[in-house]
Symmetry: C2
Subunit: 219 residues, 2 copies
């Protein structure tokens, strides 16, 4: 069966309908709660959120434009299945943009920020031991976003988040094999470089952290 049901918050939600649908679907995709290739329908989304097809269509159109969802030539909607070549590309873009964001954040990285990052990183570790893939992705991205917010580069951050979105459905299975291999202390290296104010070390640590997922794919 391809119909999709999802318990949606129905009474107190504020804001426009299509934005609520958009935001919820966006989170589900970004945090890997939907497997790659999952089929969605406008009517299914509509009934899930207690709205008509119209706002569902707008939300989906928006997500397709951002690469969070795929659309076949006939208009069928699925979560994207990322091929290896595309995955390599997206990782390469991350490896270009995220060190730059980290660099721009470096002069503004107060001790309070570093402490907050340390706290988030402990949450990441908790998610690893809890085998919570979605929670791991969520807290890992929060670690990066918290750092990059200090860069005061909203356009660059938005672009990076678009990359995270596109990688979302693939990340889950990618990080499922992460247990055995990777999970080296890249985040700790990032924190150390921040404390030391070492720009080159920071760039390197971020690049390593970003490309780690790709490396275990080629094994």
């Amino acid at each position: 069966m391809t119909t999709n049901q999802k318990t949606a918050a129905q009474p107190p939600e504020t804001g426009l309908a299509h934005e609520r649908v958009y935001r919820t679907l966006r989170h589900q995709v970004m945090f890997g709660e939907l497997p790659p290739g999952e089929a969605l329908t406008l009517r299914g989304i509509g009934t899930s959120f207690n709205v008509s097809m119209t706002p569902a269509r707008e939300a989906v159109r928006r997500l397709v434009a951002e690469g969070a969802l795929s659309m076949s030539a006939s208009g069928r909607i699925t979560t994207p299945e990322i091929g290896n070549d595309r995955l390599e590309e997206l990782a390469a873009i991350r490896a270009l943009l995220e060190p730059e964001l980290a660099c721009r954040a470096l002069p503004r990285a107060h001790p309070a920020l570093i402490d907050r990052l340390r706290s988030i990183n402990s949450t990441v570790d908790q998610m690893v031991v809890k085998q919570d893939a979605s929670g791991y992705i969520r807290s890992n991205l929060e670690f990066h976003r918290t750092l990059y917010l200090r860069a005061q580069a909203p356009a660059m951050l938005a672009m990076v988040e678009t990359l995270w979105l596109q990688l979302g459905p693939t990340m889950r299975q990618l990080y499922s094999r992460m247990q055995r291999g990777g999970r080296l202390g890249h985040h700790r290296a990032i924190l150390a470089a921040l404390r030391a104010g070492d720009e080159q070390a920071l760039k390197l640590a971020v690049r390593e952290d970003v490309t780690q997922g790709l490396r275990m794919l080629s094994v």
Copy 2:
């Protein structure tokens, strides 16, 4: 008056309606045919293309998601007005991605491609003497796209094209003051580096070409 009329091709167009609207508007924005801050309305777009509001809404939603159009909190649609800080950011992203694309294209740059680039570049020069801003933008971007297509990196190219889209409305006035100042032979430097197979020189030339527009803004 805020109503907008546009003579649109009406009879032979194939494909879905919203995609025809999307493609036309996208070109108009990317090539700087719409000034920054231009107001658009769904009904106006609809009547321009002889379609209802529905496909107009989808096209606009898609373009807003790509940053080609802006939407106020109340839903009003305008072409984006780029502030200096955002402009600096977008140029920085271009300066990161486009040299990488050029590098990836370098090993695949046959002499035939270089000839084609030379031909496009002569068109660029023609547009400069003709004072055709839109034609200049179009041919200039075609120069870059033709090169980057050889990189076989569709995701990266798509991301760069999104940047061009966002810069579209601003580019026109940016390049209007280009006559007096810039227009150094960056493209020629790119061609020379391609012929020589010099990766570092290519990276530098592309970066210079990309950031030239920004430099004349800070004057």
